[in-house]
Amino acid sequence: MKKTTTRRDFIKKTGLAAAGISFAPYILPSGRLFAPTGNRSSEHVVMVAFAGGVRQQESVLKRYLDDSQGEPYPGNIMYNMFSGAAPENKIVYGTGTGGLNPIPAILSNSLESQGTVFKEVTALSAGHFGGLNSLVQGSTTTTQGLKQRPINPTIFEYLRRHGGYSATDAWFVGNGIGNSTPLLNHSAHPDYGAEYAGNFFAPTVTFSDIGAQFMADAKIYHPENELAPMYKLQTFLDLQFQALTSAGGSIGNSEDEKQNIKAFMEAMYAKVAAGTLDLPPVTDNGDLYTMAFAVEVLKWFKPAFMMVNLSAVDSCHSNFSGYLGALHRADHAVGHLWNKIQTDIPEMSGQTTLLCTPECGRNLQPNNILDQNDWLSYDHSDTNSLRVWTLLAGPSIPAGLSIGSENNPVGLVSDTMMTVADLLGVQPEVQAAGMTANGTTSLLNQL
């Protein structure tokens, strides 16, 4: 018997369908239910954790030996980042024997002249790990220990969960695998965690000789005839196991992203072997190699966000001359980074915001360790270690602006993370989560 639809039935069903459509959440392609509520003002953001405990005196204050060794020789040894004349005497930070030859500037105009510098920012921790945690979490917690995932969500997780960014849109390029650095790409927070992690490489290990020994000779499988059935069988095996266990917890790279990362690795091993890696003009320490690979990550993936961690200046614990050289090279690395973004990566040129913040400062008073030049070394534990700076440059950042001074601190280290969230459109969600340090706000609100 044929069922007829009455006018009343039709109106009822149509009304229910319309109500369902109105109230059902929108499922975005990323799998998220709702679009982020913030406004994205930058297509790409690169954050540099700079660079292992930096004193204000030798960096943003440009005092060279004048405020550390009792020798009256001021000057700017970071001339890619800051404006100002280089020291004229007692040059030890360059290349060659005794470091007599300063590395030429890469950028014709300093980043300070192109952007904004917060000259006196307050760090949340006098230590590296606490400082790095404050940069990735926007907070630092007293219960956060080494060999432990961050307790609160990281910027990678906020971006991926609330902004819908893919795994290869969020990268952390680490300076190595020490000091729990590989653990900083995601937290152990139950609402976030591995599935929202950023991708991570410590390229000086991954693409080193030992990395090549285990990873460079990978067999290439046919994606459809070989890999597809292999993954299918693996899925069956996993389903059998997951019926009784809760295995899982890997980064949420899609299969396409995994193949892309494997292709990137293969290309990097080939470049290293062929000597065609895009290196900075001077590449004589780990930070410079790390930055070279960070640039390669940018070229390949063009991610929305990348954090790169430099750390060689930590030699200051026992070698002040080495510290000056490392500081000079960290500046060279940032100059290389910015130059490559503007000249070699058209998809990012003019659309990228750069933020550089030291994770912590360094002491006012030296320890007793003398280096080859009889200069005293510096640890990081006192209030001077909580004095840092933040440099911003990019299309929406005012040029030539300076905010704060030695007697007028403005901003927190955790503001850097909130600024990234602001630039990439997830600041309201990060604030609503309520897990950042008190007073943390976007630096864009303080311009």
Binding site: A167, F172, G174, G176, I177, P182, N185, A197, G198, N199, F200, F201, A202, P203, V205, T206, I210, G211, Q213, F214, M215, A216, D217, A218, K219, I220, Y221, H222, N225, E226, P229, M230, Y231, K232, L233, Q234, F236, L237, D238, Q240, F241, Q242, L244, T245, A247, G248, S250, I251, N253, K258, I261, K262, M265
Partner: protein, 169 residues
């Protein structure tokens, strides 16, 4: 006197009795099977709840594939390289494909695998999971291998090595 038995005779009787008892006590136990088939007991996957470290995973997969342990220094370095890669599933896959590219790794051909597929499946489950497959698993894997001409022992081993169960013990 006739009633008196010499001590030598007594000793002889005692020895005879002991020998008879020993002979009776040493008889082999009869093989009683009650018509049941023997069953080898292996642990099931329900007991695997501890995640292997990277070092353990590399050491075990090397042993499972090459039937030989990895030198300690190599093991240490491999674990370091694993730490330097955020997505561990990618690290595992790339390492395995490097292993499969090594000339000293001897694997069966697909034809050899198909000669006795059930035995191959049992052997693979034992090698990687230290257990036998359930009947449902054996049936699925058998049909899957038969219906996918590209599935070689190498790819089967890769599936098992990359699986979640293999990450636990």
């Amino acid at each position: 006197m006739n009633m008196l038995v010499s001590s030598r005779t007594q000793t002889g009787y005692m020895t005879l009795i002991v020998l008879l008892l020993l002979a009776a006590g040493c008889r082999p136990e009869p093989d009683v099977s009650f018509e049941l088939q023997g069953l080898e007991v292996t642990p099931g996957f329900a007991t695997k709840d501890r995640l292997k470290t990277n070092e353990q995973w590399v050491a075990i997969v090397h042993t499972n594939l090459f039937q030989a342990g990895m030198p300690a220094n190599d093991l240490y370095n491999a674990a370091r390289v694993f730490e330097s890669i955020g997505d561990q599933s990618i690290a595992r896959e790339v390492l395995l494909s490097n292993f499969f590219n090594q000339p000293d790794l001897e694997l069966q051909t697909r034809e050899e695998m198909l000669d006795d597929l059930d035995a191959f499946i049992d052997e693979t489950y034992l090698r990687f999971y230290t257990r036998f497959p359930t009947q449902a698993e054996r049936t699925f894997v058998r049909e899957f291998v038969l219906n996918n001409p590209g599935m070689t022992p190498e790819l089967v081993y890769m599936s098992f090595s990359l699986s979640d169960e293999y990450r636990y013990y």
